[in-house]
């Protein structure tokens, strides 16, 4: 019997594919289980100042169109609640001081720094994070699609904040010039200094939004998003060998755009 168990176990280990339990899914699972808050990444450095205000309150937040019941401390920021209570880790924390924009989310369609909003002040308001942009069937938001098509970011830590800023800006300014767009997303920083490519991507996203194409049908440039079972690098290699002309066109366009 013991033998059998051992064998089963080792088979399971061998079969446990790294594809199904990714690092991301594991972390999200731990957060959803409620174990991570305050454990590893966040420490509560100060005890409650006095007895009556230490507790948490159960409130309902409207996040990405769904009501979410969540326990929230009085001094908790929205970024904290989204990431560490609701597992919406697409919202990043960069500076935690309203300076970098990585934590940008939409409150009633308007971009805000979620690191500088108390969660208790957004009860009754609609919160949209980067997770809430795609359609229910998985079709990406036109701006997201454009970022992929245009290879808009380098390391992309700032990307979700930038995308939320751009989406919020484009809601009220659907047809901006490149300069207006730059001004609209000027509350976000990219340490890779990838601004030119970011603007390329968002200008393209604005175009997708105006055309209602969502990017899929627009064959202006070859899409670089990986197909099923294909790695990003393979797709790029395939494109640059097969569709070399398009690639050089794209690079040329980006270079022209860069210091225009």
């Amino acid at each position: 019997m013991a033998d059998m168990e051992d064998r089963n176990q080792s088979r399971q280990q061998a079969e446990s594919p790294s594809k199904t339990i990714t690092r991301r899914r594991f972390i999200l699972g731990v957060i959803a289980g409620g174990a991570a808050v305050g454990a590893a990444s966040y420490r509560f450095l100060a005890p409650p100042a006095h007895g009556r205000n230490g507790g948490e309150r159960l409130i309902t937040l409207l996040v990405n169109g769904k009501p979410r019941r969540v326990e929230v401390m009085k001094q908790e920021t929205l970024a904290f609640t989204l990431r560490y209570r609701l597992g919406l880790t697409g919202t990043k924390l960069g500076c935690d001081r309203a300076e970098c924009g990585a934590c940008t989310v939409l409150l009633d369609d308007v971009p805000h720094y979620s690191c500088s909003v108390l969660t208790h002040t957004v009860r009754g308001r609609s919160v949209t994070t980067v997770e809430g942009l795609a359609a229910p069937d998985g079709t990406l938001h036109p701006v997201q699609q454009a970022v992929i098509d245009q290879q808009g970011f380098q390391c992309a830590f700032c990307m979700s904040g930038f995308i939320m800023s751009a989406v919020g800006f484009l809601k009220t300014n659907p047809n901006p010039t490149r300069q207006e767009l730059a001004h609209g997303i000027s509350g976000n920083l990219c340490r890779c200094q990838d601004y030119s490519k970011i603007l390329d991507a968002f200008m393209r996203g604005a175009e997708y939004m105006r055309n209602g194409t969502g990017g899929r049908q627009t064959a202006l440039l070859p899409t670089l998003s990986p197909k099923n079972g294909e790695r990003m690098g393979q797709r790029i290699v395939a494109l640059s060998s097969g569709g070399g002309e398009s690639m050089s066109q794209q690079t040329g366009a980006a270079n022209t755009a860069r210091r225009a």
Binding site: H50, D96, A98, G101, C115, I185
Partner: protein, 352 residues
């Protein structure tokens, strides 16, 4: 200095939904209460654990503090109206554009979406020694770290220093002074209305605060009279970066011109002194003079009389001379600077 990636120390959060309730709560809690408007000044203090209020009174749920009301004798702006709303308001853009110009260059888009007019005029100074928690005069100590031979004081005052050399960081304040605005303050004792200029106080009056709000006071609205509606306005802000930065200096003016001559004018400059500075000597000197370069030249020279630079901020004297000159003679500001994208020249820094 800054401890980050953690949670703020606990406080009691009170969320009144009317001004009456807010003033009652402020009265009850006295100096232990911290008023939070947009929160962008507050969170720095709280996260850095430099100010530790027991009670935070959040004004975001008070609808009567929000919105812009236009009437025959001017405009009333609720203290909790966001800067974005003011920047986009058609009436303010049309008749009081010095204010919409000023608030549209505050910080970044997200901050303007959240930051309020009341918060912008009531925020604390940005002197980094003070904000870093150093026990300076303003924090109740007995030294000014910025005003020493090695103190980093490039951003600090050239006027009105009294032990403390910090400057007022607001962009909207000089515009409101130029428009002769009135500030409405409510407390449990009642309502009082003060001139924009008198809302701000220097270290000679009280070194621990930048405005007249005492514990229990609440700024509820700012009224702009129609007296300067549609006159000739000028606003310019100079800063190191075109986003986020507080002003190295800004200037705001409202001017009525009759037959080419200045018939009346109000002009204020900020980030040169602990309070936004109205230039009364310039105002009286240029009335009756033509709007031209020589009047501007004269006004600029007059404006900087009596300036006392610190070790690293002497550049502020020619900067102020030029800003006042441009405000008076109406030289349009460079297009790049106006767009807020690139190209405000960086004043020569003297760090070494």
């Amino acid at each position: 200095m800054a401890v980050f990636r953690d949670v703020m120390p606990a406080f009691d959060l009170l969320q009144p939904d009317s001004v009456a309730e807010a003033t009652r709560l402020l009265d009850e809690n006295g100096s232990g209460a911290w008023i939070m408007a947009g929160g962008l000044d507050s969170f720095d203090w709280l996260k850095d654990r430099i100010k530790k209020p027991g009670v935070l009174v959040d004004l975001s749920g008070i609808d009567e503090l929000k919105g812009i009301r236009v009437s025959g004798d001017g405009v009333e702006i609720g203290a909790m109206t966001t800067l974005t709303e003011i920047a986009n308001n058609p009436e303010i853009r049309k008749n009081y554009s010095v204010l919409s110009d000023a608030v549209s260059v505050v910080a970044s888009p997200q901050i303007r979406n959240q930051g309020t007019l009341g918060g912008n005029v009531s925020q604390d100074t940005r002197c980094w020694y003070y904000r870093g928690g150093w026990p300076c005069y303003r924090a109740g100590g007995n030294i000014c770290y910025a005003d020493t031979p090695v103190g980093r004081n490039r951003e600090h005052a050239i006027f009105g220093a009294d032990r403390c050399v910090a400057v007022h960081p607001s962009d909207s304040a000089p515009a409101l002074i130029a428009l002769d605005a009135r500030f409405v303050i409510r407390s449990a004792k009642g309502e009082r209305v003060v001139d924009a200029e008198d809302y701000f106080i220097g270290p000679d009056v009280d070194i621990t605060r930048l405005n007249i709000l005492a514990p229990g006071d609440l700024l509820t609205a700012i009224r702009i009279p129609a007296a300067w509606s549609g006159t000739k306005f000028y606003f310019e802000k100079v800063r190191d970066r075109n986003v986020w930065d507080f002003p190295l200096m800004n200037v705001a003016s409202a001017m009525e011109v009759n037959g080419g001559n200045i018939s009346r004018i109000r002009i204020a400059v900020s980030a040169v002194a602990p309070r936004p500075m109205r230039l009364r000597n310039v105002e009286s000197a240029v009335v009756g003079k033509p709007v031209d370069a020589s009047t501007g030249e004269m006004a600029g020279k007059l404006a900087v009389q009596g300036a006392v630079p610190l070790q690293f901020n002497a550049y502020k004297i020619p900067l102020m001379r030029n800003l006042v000159k441009r405000a008076i003679s109406g030289v349009p500001m460079p297009q790049q600077a106006k767009s807020g994208l690139a190209g405000d020249p960086i004043p020569e820094a003297s760090w070494s």
